[in-house]
Amino acid sequence: MIRFDHASKRYPGGHEALTNLTFHIAQGQMAFLTGHSGAGKSTLLKLIAAIEPSSRGQIVINGMNLSTLPNRKIPTLRRQIGMVFQNHHLLYDRSVYDNVALPLIIAGYKHREIGRRVRASLDKVGLLNKERVLPITLSGGEQQRVGIARAVVNRPPLLLADEPTGNLDPLLSEEIMRLFIEFNQIGTTVLIASHDLELIRRLQQPIMTLYQGRLIQNGLNQGKRANEIA
């Protein structure tokens, strides 16, 4: 699903954010991406969603080679990726329902289909009773769950999350992480960047660690084994 082959990212000005990354996250797998802030976690997620281009090497996402992907195909790529952000990136001038419906509207779904899917998605994150309220009236944890509902509403094969629990207390954080694991269990590939080591160790999922733009720990294979044992 996500294949990096000697990929590097150098920003204009010479700062090398990622150096020579090679790894493969298979379809249906779940992994955590960790490291200090500035280690390159966000940059890695940005490369996957084609928000930034890689400087060297190849990145293949769900069979699409990003170095040869024309600009007009980028929306097609992004529709296959559900993205969850630390600061939610919700639109505060419209209701929870309208926020969650956004990916479906972009993809041109029919009205009835949108209603069905949005409610299913809100139900999944436990916010079905809040569909008419404005996001600003919700707590941080609830806003994050709206963000997750929006990310999964069009059932993307890949789910990316950048510090999804960054502003939340430990209890809420674990709740959110459990939600991601549930999505992984129904077949979605999930990659979560987080620096909350204590929490992610407890969740017993494969961990990749970045240090100054290099992959110093690739737990993908061990993780798989651990899953098999479990």
């Binding site: 969603a49 929306p75 790529l77 990136h89 639109l91």
Partner: protein, 323 residues
């Protein structure tokens, strides 16, 4: 084999239909969405729309003035006449013979003969002239033939040629083409006409800039939203669409405001103008904008809205990351 191909064709057809439906649906949605935005914050948008309306009303009002001036000058224009001042030596009899001769020419509709005595009597009727004329021993005025020119002879080269021929006649002392003042008036109208176009062009550019600037601000204030919908897979045309429709709405509503301003102004002027023309004994009525004018105004303003927003979107939407 054949049936499979047919099934495939059918599927493709369905897919195309679905795509087309979704396309129309998306457009309708942005159309209504952008209108909804106008409706929700009416005050801010009302200012913009009024400015556009006033900018468009100015050239439209000038245009209305112009068509009225043209209509008025049309009445004065015909018939064109040529005055022939005859030499003193020509007797009234000879003058009338000449008049009959000239009347036969196809350029001429009719000829009016004003003898020197008649002309003097006409003068005597003007207040203050009577005594002055009585003090003269001899009649200083010549006899005049006024030739009314047929419409088909009014064209410039033919009329000049005819005028030259008349000037060359032995009995004629002086020839005066009474076209000059009509020409002058027409020249003035032509200048105003050009001026209206100039002002209209300038104000059209102003409308483009106003709409462009409004859309630019709109893009800036909705930066976060644009970023988010790009991140979740919106195509460029999807992002662009509501702004383009926003521009169309601005243009359309601005045009309607302009229409109301101009028509309102004309309605206010209608009575005073009617009173004035009645004083002159003319049946002239103020001409209002006709259907074609109104349609052109609305279509032009809508078009300006689209172009203005398109320019703004082209320049500013790309600057919003991510691409």
């Amino acid at each position: 084999m054949k049936s499979r191909k047919q099934a495939h064709d059918f599927k493709m057809q369905r897919a195309k239909e679905h795509f087309f439906k979704a396309y129309i649906f998306n457009h309708l949605r942005s159309l209504l969405f952008s209108l909804g935005k106008l409706y929700r914050t009416p005050l801010a948008h009302l200012t913009t729309i009024s400015v556009i309306g006033i900018a468009l009303a100015l050239p439209t009002a000038l245009y209305a003035l112009l068509i009225n001036a043209q209509e008025l000058s049309k009445d004065w224009d015909s018939p064109t006449s040529i005055s022939l001042y005859l030499k003193k030596s020509v007797s009234d009899n000879d003058a009338q013979k000449l008049a009959k001769q000239l009347e036969k020419r196809e350029e001429v509709v009719s000829v009016r003969f004003i003898s020197s005595r008649e002309a003097l009597n006409q003068f005597r009727q003007y207040p203050g002239f009577g005594e002055a004329i009585d003090s003269l021993k001899k009649n200083p005025l010549p006899s005049v033939l006024v030739l009314y020119i047929a419409q088909q002879a009014e064209s410039e080269p033919r009329l000049s040629l005819f005028a030259q021929q008349l000037q060359a006649l032995k009995k004629v002392d002086q020839m005066q083409l009474d076209l000059e003042w009509v020409k002058r008036l027409r020249a003035i109208i032509a200048i105003i006409h050009r001026g209206v176009w100039l002002i209209a062009s300038l104000l059209a550019i102003a409308v483009l800039l106003i709409i462009g600037n409004t859309i630019r601000l709109d893009i800036q204030s909705r930066r976060a939203e644009i970023e988010v919908i790009k991140l979740i897979g919106a195509t460029h045309s999807f992002v662009r669409r509501p702004f383009l429709y926003g521009g169309i709405w601005y243009g359309l509503l601005g045009g309607i405001v302009a229409l109301f301003l101009v028509e309102g102004g004309l309605l206010l002027l209608q009575n005073p103008v009617h009173q004035l023309t009645q004083l002159y004994g003319s049946p002239y009525q103020l001409i209002r904008l006709n259907g074609v004018n109104i349609l052109s105004l609305i279509m032009l303003s809508t078009f300006l809205g689209l172009v203005g927003s398109w320019l703004a979107v082209r320049r500013h939407l790309h600057s919003v990351e991510p691409h």
